[in-house]
Symmetry: C2
Subunit: 194 residues, 2 copies
DNA sequence: CGGATATCTTATCGCTGTCAAGATTTAATT
DNA sequence: AATTAAATCTTGACAGCGATAAGATATCCG
């Protein structure tokens, strides 16, 4: 096909719907997310998404899954630019955690602060478990004798920071220049390790 | 009036609607909260809430405001049962923070993890600012030279802990007996202070 | 080529939040 | 005490939502 005005079949509607859903999420937030609006954004009828995602929960679950992939990628990116020692790697993971929350606040909120994504979905469960595993292993690498409380401490500090920043509280940190904020995040995550 | 079956005027509908709203919030969560359902719970027409709260946002804002009052009360309760020194007081504040989140997960999520409550509302703004002020002053009392980063560290660790526990992640801590969990929370909050 | 299948639309349902208009009760004023 | 004003609640309507069944159109595969 060359470039027909409106082919009956979209070609890759699933991907287009996910893009539209992310735009909708960013524009309206998790609370006011509308599936019909997503369909409208993609230039398709309101019933079209059902064939690819089932219901609105399916769309949000797929979006959250994609979100976790990028979440992990943001952590990897920071870790690649960090020193090799375990502590620097764990702090880099925390910086990536916060990076993602600041860059995608609505997506972050969908992933961590709502019941709208179905975590019993195998793909979402797998990728969220991987995120936890990476953090836990990062803690173990720094302190081999570390236990549950140590993992909880690092996760809590990092997640709390990310959540408060994504919500727009903690303006004292959110308004900082990146380098300065990075130092503060590193300091806070570092403290949680004792 | 003795006990007429259905008086046209309720008497204290505002309070009854808030109770119904809290029940609805607990039952369905922030995501599926329905104003009509709240009215049904209170035995009143769907348009009745408008006269007391304006729209659904007004109900949720009032509910969040009441939530912050109880949030502060939970912290006060812990602080009354704690030692007098500044550090014990701050850790008690953190324990109250977590207590509230575990006892009222849906309300906690409304207050901290959603845009549905209007924080420009004077009453809600005032009570949420008081909560922040108490935490910041608690940090200052422990370390008079403390700065923004110290406040952010304590808030992040405490809030992250509460948020993850309310969301059902961190089952490792959530499944503990209260005394054991308290020790872990105290340890984690304590770490954020240095 | 032709039937099976995947993809998308149209039309409809019950539910939601909001609003205007009317009914009923309480409060204020004289 | 009588009348008026104000507050409270109901009824009825509207548009938008998610979901689903039935039909239209395109692709796949023998």
């Amino acid at each position: 096909m060359t470039e027909a005005a409106k082919p009956y079949h979209h070609g890759d509607l699933r991907a287009a719907l996910l893009d539209a859903a992310e735009a909708e999420l960013g524009a309206r937030g998790v609370e006011a997310f509308s599936l019909r609006q997503v369909a409208r954004r993609a230039g398709v009828s309101s019933a079209a998404p059902a064939h690819h995602f089932g219901d609105v929960g399916g769309v949000l679950t797929a979006l959250a899954t994609e979100g976790f992939r990028r979440f992990l990628a943001a952590q990897t990116l920071r870790q690649q630019g960090a020193g090799e020692d375990a502590r620097a790697q764990l702090i880099a993971l925390g910086l990536g955690y916060v990076d993602f929350a600041l860059a995608n606040p609505a997506l972050f909120r969908l992933m961590f602060g709502s019941n709208r994504a179905a975590y019993h979905d195998p793909a979402l469960y797998a990728v969220s478990e991987e995120a936890f595993r990476r953090l836990a292993e990062g803690v173990q690498a720094v302190r081999p004798e570390a236990g549950m409380v140590d993992v909880a401490a690092v996760w809590s500090a990092t997640h709390g920071l990310a959540d408060l920043l994504a919500a727009g509280r903690l303006q004292m940190l959110g308004g900082m220049a990146r380098a300065e904020r990075d130092r503060a995040v590193a300091e806070i995550v570092g403290r949680s390790l004792r």
